[in-house]
Symmetry: C2
Subunit: 381 residues, 2 copies
């Protein structure tokens, strides 16, 4: 694929936001990205969103936002792949530019979840599972992840407290991110004394239901040198949608495939990755993601979390702005928050959580219980 | 954009289908397209759908169908732009192939509407409108179209019975389409004596809520000569999402733009178009679509309908397999039914409704009340 650049980024604070409609929330992130790029209107809009039809009674987000932003007559579409909808929109925009149909595009991810009662949100999230094989039996998304975590602990001998380090790291980094939902450090004792959500997943293993929007401005023309962040790799792969059909529920085979292809495209190995924005919707997904991306052997991720490897000065910094766990997880926007954060890191603009000398950053966005996984590698220079 | 071919097509009968789940319905159309192409599995899946999250409690259709079809690990996404979601998925797949990321793709459109009570379907359809400016005030989609039709009659002096010819033509053609919802001819008297839905739109002005799925197999490699149907043009444009913000509610400016660009891409004029699968969700949309695509001046479309121009042997045959009106309108699938029908016409496989010597065929898919319009031109040879 031809070289495509990220000329601008924007994001709204992740929180409960009852003052703005979905359109205004997405529009705010888009306006920030447009101002940051300062290149005028792009030729098209790609919107990542999962549940606005149910949760906000609003679909057709492409035309909606083109209209709201004043991008008269420009084309716009919505992309959906559950929690990886954000990265799906990013990948669709990349392909649109590489095809020559567009020379620039705005990618917006938005989700407004907290207007709905919790039972409705849980039901909306469950639409990412197989309705015939999982949804109809009432299984929730946290339950699917709990099954995986239970099996992981049984198979590799870890205990729940071994997972605390993932959340402690995420919260420690979120303290310095003004857009994070939880700007509060947590301790092992907090983790051990919090409430259970679905055994063995406790409250501090789980990312929060949130409202938020993030946006990136993509262009085929190289921006000025200090903003020269390019997309070095883009790769997507699927796995069985239902957990019960997976040969090995402890391996994210779609992540393994998409990361392997991404490394090939970028011409690098995991060793060159300076930071990794992984999809820590639950601690167990953080672990499986690190393993699938080649940072350690299967079953060994809790060791990386506990020996300091995932810290800002460690071998592979993760969740550098709080991750899904502490920045928050507005599902359709998450993939773009990850990419905005990687871009800001490569631009050297993340202040106290800046990873030194990072030239390559990776973001991995997971849809469903591992059924649709999209990996992007960004490059500074 | 590089030349891309339609190597295979598939469609399920449009009807109330309570025997199959959304997945099975979409899968059936996909299997037919795969068998028709006979080229093995393509590299990716693009699914057009509008309301499965609400109506069928099922999202993540890309991974769902890749899994169900046995296309292990191949990438897949959902595309949404309300009633033009089908053409949006087609366009996204074209751009994916033209970008070089994929060499082939399956495009599937599916909608399963009749499981839900009518009030829910009406609410789901209204998510294509602006929730803040239209939806929250309870305006339905038929009401928006009724406002346009009322104004059109006032402005140009037509009466309701002048619109009957659009529906009579669609039903006459549907008689010969085994996949059509209504295989029954209607008369002017039927039209004049049917019930009112929302004045001036009556039951025979409106396309039926339906279940259905259609699929196309796209490939960069030229298929065998008798199947050499290529995509000569693909163009999308948006307009204001809310009707009240439109400068002129009687002009589909997004259709004018996307048709104009499509003709440029194909290097032809409306004169060369052998058949036009237009988006006759309501008779008034049929009229506006013909005008926007350049087949007559604004306000003159009812004349074309009444003077025989839109018949199979007329100047511009439309709705050759029944159109949305009589074939049926499973919203997210409609854009792909249109493209399947154009492809079959260009292959000369439509039997008694075959348009003689057509080498160029056009399909135009409309999202919302005219806010997201996508035009494709196919070419035989």
């Amino acid at each position: 694929m031809q070289k495509i650049y990220i000329a601008g980024v924007g994001q709204t604070p992740v929180r409960e936001n009852w003052e703005k409609s979905l359109k205004e929330l997405a529009g705010d992130a888009a306006l920030l990205a447009l101002a940051d790029a300062n290149l005028g209107y792009p030729e098209g809009i790609f919107v990542g969103n999962m549940m606005s039809g149910s949760a906000n009674h609003q679909l057709q987000l492409g035309a909606l936002l083109a209209d709201w932003l004043g991008m008269h007559h420009r084309e716009g579409f919505g992309l959906e792949s559950a929690c990886s909808s954000g990265a799906a929109a990013f990948r669709a925009a990349l392909m649109a530019i590489a095809s020559g149909e567009l020379s620039s595009a705005l990618v917006i991810g938005v989700e407004k979840m907290t207007d709905s009662p919790l039972a409705e949100i849980t039901a909306n999230l469950a639409t990412a599972a197989d309705a015939d094989l999982e949804g109809d039996f009432g299984v929730s998304f946290v339950a699917l992840n709990a099954l995986i975590m239970q099996r992981y602990m049984y198979e590799y001998g870890w205990k729940t407290s071994d997972f605390a380090a993932f959340s402690i790291n995420a919260h420690a980094n979120a303290v310095f991110n003004p857009n994070a939902r939880f700007r509060k450090a947590i301790s092992l004792s907090d983790y051990e004394h919090t409430g259970m959500v679905c055994e063995p997943i406790n409250l501090l293993d789980a990312s929060p239901v949130s409202d938020g929007a993030a946006a990136l401005y993509l262009t085929a023309a190289p921006p000025t040198k200090d903003r020269r962040i390019s997309v070095a790799a883009s790769s997507a792969a699927t796995d069985t949608i239902s957990l019960q059909n997976r040969t090995n529920s402890l391996r994210l085979s779609a992540a393994e495939k998409s990361a392997r292809i991404a490394y090939q495209q970028a011409g690098i190995t995991p060793r060159e990755i300076g930071l990794f924005e992984y999809h820590d919707a639950f601690s167990i997904m953080a672990a499986l993601s690190l393993e699938a991306a080649g940072f350690c052997d299967p079953g060994q991720a809790p060791r990386l979390a506990n020996d300091g490897s995932i810290a800002l000065n460690g071998r592979i910094p993760v969740a550098t702005m709080g991750g899904l766990k502490a920045r928050g997880h507005p599902v359709g926007a998450t993939g773009l928050y990850q990419l905005v954060e990687v871009a800001l890191q490569l631009r050297g603009e993340t202040g106290q959580t800046q990873v030194e000398a990072a030239r390559w950053g990776m973001a991995q966005n997971i849809g469903g219980s591992g059924s649709n996984i999209i990996t992007h590698i960004l490059h500074q220079g």
